[in-house]
């Protein structure tokens, strides 16, 4: 992976006005490709009702139609439009990915800040997190779904719980570094209570690794949702999700390979886009790259 060439201190003010993110994107076409894929998937997901017909409408007379002018991606065994289901699947993937990121970041930030800042809580919180991480991700997600029951909300909860400790560990690591800084000590010496110190001084300086982690949690959440639904323990089967379409398609592999090929391509392209973007965000926020994390933190 090549390294981003960064602007040095002596930059002209005019150049600084071009948003930093755009400058990086322009230098790294592959990250730009990732960003375009992610934005496109999001737009398709949001505009699903405009782009596609009702993904639940069954028409048994039209079952297992090959892809063509009438049905771009063919139809499934119940005569539902696969294109519509793939498009609505994008909507679900983006929803689950986004919600899991919000959930895992909120919980992970809270746990990580508490563990890193209050040394007495550290051991307890991190042992619980270690215990949760001793389960392979998909296994814990399956087990949680067993208890929670199939629904979109529960899928978000289960995957969110699985990825919270991974965020918490990263946050705690940076808090341990940040809390030793002179400005934190100064604030403490001035008698500033713990909460304002955490929120105003510690939190903003821990954010870059969290943002990087967030972009990978998003990809992992999309993958995990697809896997859970494929296994039949994710979102209920009637809800169009890429995993659900694949799960049905598996039974008609011989007669209707398009049931696997189109949602499969959608998953692959989306995950590829998220990975490319994640790599880009990581290079962008890598603290090893001079001056960058500071500039980025100020911007956020």
């Amino acid at each position: 992976m090549s390294v981003v060439v960064l602007p040095r201190e002596g930059e002209t003010p005019a150049k600084r006005r071009v948003p930093f993110v755009l400058r990086v994107l322009a230098r790294r076409p592959i990250v730009l490709a990732g960003a375009i894929i992610v934005v496109l998937t999001t737009v398709i997901g949001l505009l699903a009702p405009v782009i596609a017909v009702d993904p639940m409408r069954m028409d048994v007379a039209m079952r297992l139609q090959t892809p063509g002018a009438a049905y771009w991606f063919g139809t499934d065994d119940l005569g539902r439009d696969v294109f519509a289901r793939v498009v609505y699947g994008a909507r679900l993937s983006i929803l689950v990915g986004g919600a899991v990121v919000v959930f895992a970041l909120m919980l992970g930030l809270t746990a990580g800040l508490a563990a890193g800042y209050f040394r007495r809580l550290d051991n307890v919180i991190m042992r619980v997190m270690d215990g949760l991480m001793a389960f392979p991700a998909i296994i814990l997600a399956i087990a949680l779904m067993a208890s929670l029951g199939p629904s979109v909300t529960n899928v978000i909860l289960a995957i969110g719980i699985v990825y919270t400790p991974r965020v918490a560990r990263v946050v705690r690591g940076s808090v341990l570094v940040v809390r030793e800084n002179a400005y934190v000590e100064a604030a403490r010496a001035l008698g500033v209570p713990d909460l304002p110190i955490i929120l105003r001084h510690v939190l903003p300086n821990c954010l870059s690794p969290v943002i990087v982690q967030g972009s990978f949690v998003f990809a992992a959440a999309v993958l995990t949702e697809a896997a859970l639904s494929f296994l039949g323990v994710g979102v209920p089967p009637y809800i169009p999700s890429w995993g659900n379409i694949l799960s049905e398609g598996r039974l008609y592999l011989q007669q209707a390979p398009w049931l696997v090929l189109y949602p499969g391509a959608a998953i692959m392209v989306t995950i590829l886009g998220l990975n490319l973007l994640g790599d880009g965000v990581r290079d962008l926020l890598d603290p090893k790259i001079r001056g960058l994390s500071i500039e980025r933190t100020r911007a956020t």
Binding site: G131, A134, I142, L144, M145, F230, G232, Q254, P257, V260
Partner: protein
């Protein structure tokens, strides 16, 4: 054995205790996580009251929660995972019955991922920034973007349905001859291992690149060693440390991946066991499989940590 080494091993073992305790507690909590009476949920909506009462008794749900938890720890210490509600046999027996395909699938996937990932990573590093390097890394990026179950489905479609090279699904147990077993595992092992080999290749490449910049590599070249000797005798061994870590992590990813891939190929392993248990709300089986897999995972991580003693002598002097 040196005292330092003993102390290191002991430290690692002790560190496992709190983690194991949390793991056991999480597995216990699973059954109480759903809102409402667990016995009623397990029995299903139309179950007669007698059935619900019997399930409550079997699972000991009528006792206070802290006593249930104490009994749970006690039983786990004795290796007792309880009784399956649906299969009407001990959970441990059900797991042992289904372990063979999952273990064989995981192991063969590890072999596939190492045999492809490590050479690809080394090759990429040796020809850093060449066309070969870029092609391999692009391939690896695509590789980590394909979920294993999707790759499995595509294999079934291409090599099973269209080309008819391999059986579309199913598993042939070892006792019916290893050749048939191997044949039934080729596609699942590649579906599972290829994705992981992409990750291993990326790590192997970057740790090789780091090592190749070291002074002892330059020294080796300067004193006229053949490039082969420099790369394989000096650099490779040192690049192994991060790679072994990833292979250890791979084990966790692969054993849980096996659980998913089994569904694609209809392999009657732990994955099918746990999924059918989830659908039947057979909580003791879910708890048991989850515990066993987490246990194996912790053990493998321990072995990875201990393997540093052999690979990286510096660990001994920490």
């Amino acid at each position: 054995m040196e005292d330092r080494v003993k102390a290191y091993i002991l430290r690692r073992l002790l560190a496992l205790i709190p983690v194991a305790l949390v793991v056991a507690t999480v597995a216990f909590v699973l059954i109480h996580l759903a809102p409402g009476d667990p016995a009623a949920i397990i029995a299903g909506p139309d179950a007669p009251a007698d059935d619900v009462a019997q399930i409550r008794r079997t699972l000991g749900l009528e006792r206070p929660l802290h006593l249930q938890l104490a009994r749970w720890y006690g039983r786990l210490l004795q290796g007792d995972l309880g009784q399956s509600i649906f299969l009407r046999k001990p959970v441990l027996d059900a797991i042992i019955d289904r372990a063979e395909p999952t273990l064989l699938l995981t192991l063969s996937a590890i072999v596939v991922s190492i045999l492809i990932g490590v050479p690809a990573g080394v090759l990429s590093a040796r020809h850093h920034n060449s066309a070969v390097d870029q092609a391999l890394m692009m391939l690896a990026l695509v590789g980590i973007s394909i979920p294993n179950f999707l790759l499995g489905l595509l294999f079934v479609l291409v090599f099973g349905v269209w080309l008819r090279w391999f059986p579309v699904a199913g598993y042939s147990p070892l006792e019916d001859g290893w050749l048939a077993t191997a044949r039934s595992l080729v596609m699942p092992a590649f579906a599972l291992g290829l994705v992981q080999s992409a990750l291993i290749a990326r790590i192997a490449r970057s740790s090789m690149l780091d090592v190749l910049r070291e002074q002892y590599v330059t020294t080796g070249r300067a004193k006229g060693l053949a490039e082969r000797a420099v790369v394989y005798k000096h650099a490779f061994r040192n690049a192994l440390v991060p790679t072994i870590t990833v292979i250890g992590i791979s084990f966790a990813v692969l054993i849980s991946g096996a659980v998913v891939v089994e569904t694609v190929f209809n392999i009657p392993g732990l994955g099918r066991l746990v999924i059918s248990a989830v659908l039947r709300r057979d909580y003791p089986v879910v708890q048991g499989v989850v515990l066993v897999i987490a246990g194996v995972y912790m053990l493998v991580n321990l072995l990875v940590d201990l393997s540093y003693l052999v690979i990286d002598p510096r660990v001994r002097y920490q």
